[in-house]
């Protein structure tokens, strides 16, 4: 510690800059509105825990929380399942057209997501799915990125176990389910965490398809509060803290896998 004192000073200052906004958010969330808008501001919180209760009055917070959990959870399960199936096929099975299909898949990765949105909206709308859970979940079940990430991962797995199983007469389903998936656990966890993170924080798509407050996700619900004439900032701070807390909690517990996932995939959401 003593040896790197200067370095630690720089890092502590930077780390403070990273967390200070959250600190101020917590302090503000515990103030009354009049105290929050005092000049000069007081740096101490008050204990106005009722701001957290008020979040449930200004927004259908419970519904939105549930919508977000279901959206993020179902997308995560769906993508890990579907992407791992496709990735296994691309990494290990031989079929005509495999390389062409994989090339097409890669080309999807390079297109900015906004390009899909108007037609996706029309599909969802013509199915009568606007303001529904399906609208939030279904397009998010499929991902070129997930297939790509897992295929890279599967290619790195040793083939001996699979070959031994094949000699013993195991078919592709068996090999995929009982050998490849267990071996690929770190890769699957990395993808799952990334999908969970992006889905939880996603704004654009939920904003477009679900405009009924009871069917919105947390991010869209919070965004709908901004710009309203009298903004009760302490309540807003409490709300945005509550909305981001679950994913921060998941991150804190599963840090290592999270960081591994980001470092190996390197793709931003």
């Amino acid at each position: 510690m003593r040896k790197n004192l200067g370095v630690h000073t720089i890092l502590i200052a930077a780390a403070l800059a990273m967390v200070a906004p959250f600190g101020w958010q917590i302090v503000t969330s515990l103030k009354s509105l009049s105290n929050a808008t005092k000049v000069p501001p007081s740096l101490l919180p008050e204990g106005r825990w009722d701001n957290y209760g008020k979040v449930f009055d200004v927004l259908p917070f419970g519904h939105q929380f549930l919508n977000t959990v279901l959206m993020a959870g179902l997308r995560t399960i769906g993508q890990v399942l579907f992407c791992s199936m496709a990735a296994y096929a691309f990494a290990r099975l031989r079929f005509p057209g495999r390389n062409v299909l994989f090339g097409i898949l890669l080309s999807v990765l390079m297109v900015p997501p906004q390009l899909f949105i108007i037609p996706q909206y029309q599909i969802i709308s013509s199915l009568g799915w606007l303001n529904s859970l399906q609208a939030l979940v279904v397009p998010g079940l499929f991902s070129a990125f997930g297939v790509f990430l897992l295929r890279q991962f599967f290619l790195g797995l040793p083939k001996e176990l699979e070959e031994a199983a094949a000699i013993d007469g195991a078919g592709p389903v068996r090999i995929y389910w009982s050998i490849v998936l267990p071996l690929a656990r770190p890769g699957l966890v990395a993808l799952a965490l990334l999908v969970l993170l992006w889905s939880w924080n996603d704004l654009f798509w939920p904003l477009v398809v679900n405009t009924d407050p009871g069917k919105m996700t947390l991010s869209a619900g919070l965004a709908s509060l901004q710009g309203q004439f009298q903004t009760d900032y302490p309540v807003l701070m409490a709300g945005s803290l509550l909305a981001s807390l679950p994913i921060i909690a998941v991150f804190t517990v599963l840090q290592r896998q999270f960081i591994q996932g980001i470092a190996t995939s390197g793709i931003k959401g």
């Binding site: 040896k3 790197n4 370095v7 630690h8 890092l11 930077a14 990273m18 967390v19 958010q25 808008t37 005092k38 000069p40 501001p41 579907f82 199936m85 496709a86 096929a89 099975l93 031989r94 079929f95 495999r98 390389n99 999807v108 297109v111 900015p112 906004q114 899909f116 949105i117 108007i118 037609p119 909206y121 599909i123 397009p139 499929f142 070129a144 290619l155 094949a166 592709p172 995929y176 939880w200 924080n201 704004l203 654009f204 477009v208 947390l218 991010s219 965004a223 901004q226 900032y233 945005s240 909305a243 981001s244 994913i247 840090q255 999270f258 960081i259 470092a263 390197g266 793709i267 931003k268």
Partner: protein, 323 residues
């Protein structure tokens, strides 16, 4: 990111080429192929319906005009002509490019912090990493809310802290002179942790021998950083820069919350300095229901992304060293 080509899967050791064995092998191949298609079917169909088809549709929509009641008529290149002379599009493009360019500041910062964290005998690395990473995992809408409050002209902490050293701060996101830069600060703040993780992984992949060799040649820490670390980190920096540029060009969440959208946002005098291409796209596609024009806007975004990515690939020879 490297795309490894699939190693060919060796089949079981070749047997004597009898007719029966050949038939069996053909049947095995057919079975394998059918399973292959079955495994890619869900994702394949989903991608085709929700991603591939939409790309073609958007390209087609960009050549049409949408009526008030949902129908659309072919108008050829009209939308693109309108695009090229629309001052709002030009402004949004300049804002987006400025934001993207200044956002690259996060790269040298991330390299600096990564190098400090990677020092020999460094302690509490996990602790620092967590704190830097916190903004990356936090919901962007929540982040935008907090910063809007920090930037508030009357009650914001930023201006209070500035007043302590005698500076009279502006109304950050409502002042055309500062709005975009205020946004850049938030963008850099929230992405530095992400880039830091990638650079840390890049630094750890540099073989120790290079530093030992440099030390034997009498290179001090600074010299080692310039002649060993930076060149060997340049492929990572290139990758991060490509990904950051693509990401910044699609900026939406932060601006949507900090500037707002629709009539309310337009009341903000700084709105013309904040509006991004994707925000304009959102407005045209889902607020004013001018979907043909929105499709043209997003096609323009695709073009900008392709061009800027191609330019980066073209210039990488000048500064990226592959070991």
């Amino acid at each position: 990111m490297t795309v490894t080509t699939t190693p060919q899967r060796d089949t079981l050791p070749a047997r004597a080429p009898t007719a029966a064995a050949g038939q069996q092998r053909r049947r095995g191949r057919l079975k394998e192929a059918l399973w292959g298609y079955a495994f890619i079917a869900p994702t394949g169909l989903g991608i085709a319906v929700f991603y591939l088809w939409p790309v073609l549709q958007t390209a087609y929509f960009s050549l049409t005009e949408w009526g008030a009641f949902g129908g659309h008529t072919w108008t050829g290149l009209d939308n693109y002509r309108r695009l090229s002379s629309d001052p709002e599009v030009g402004r949004a493009l300049v804002n987006t490019l400025t934001y993207t360019g200044l956002g690259l500041l996060s790269i040298p910062l991330a390299i600096g912090f990564a190098v400090l964290l990677n020092r020999k005998g460094m302690r509490f690395v996990g602790f620092y990493r967590t704190l830097f990473f916190l903004p990356v995992v936090t919901m962007p809408v929540a982040i935008a809310m907090v910063w809007r409050w920090l930037y508030n002209g009357d009650y914001g902490l930023t201006n209070y802290l500035l007043s302590l050293i005698g500076i009279d701060g502006p109304n950050w996101v409502a002042d055309p002179a500062t709005a975009l830069y205020a946004l850049v600060v938030v963008g850099v703040w929230s992405s530095v942790g992400y880039n830091l993780i990638i650079f840390l992984a890049g630094l750890q992949a540099i073989p120790k021998e290079y530093y030992e060799a440099a030390a034997i040649d009498g290179a001090g820490p600074f010299r080692q950083f310039i002649s060993v670390t930076l060149p060997l980190l340049s492929p990572t920096a290139f990758f991060v820069s490509v990904v950051s540029v693509i990401g910044s060009l699609q900026l939406f969440d932060l601006v949507y919350v900090m500037a707002g959208s629709g009539a309310g946002a337009r009341a903000n005098p700084a709105f013309p300095r904040l509006e991004t291409v994707v925000q304009l796209f959102y407005d045209r596609a889902f607020v004013t229901n001018d979907r043909g024009y929105a499709a043209a806007i997003v096609m323009m975004l695709l073009l900008v992304i392709v061009v800027l990515t191609a330019v980066q690939f073209r210039f990488q020879k000048r500064w990226v060293h592959y070991a």
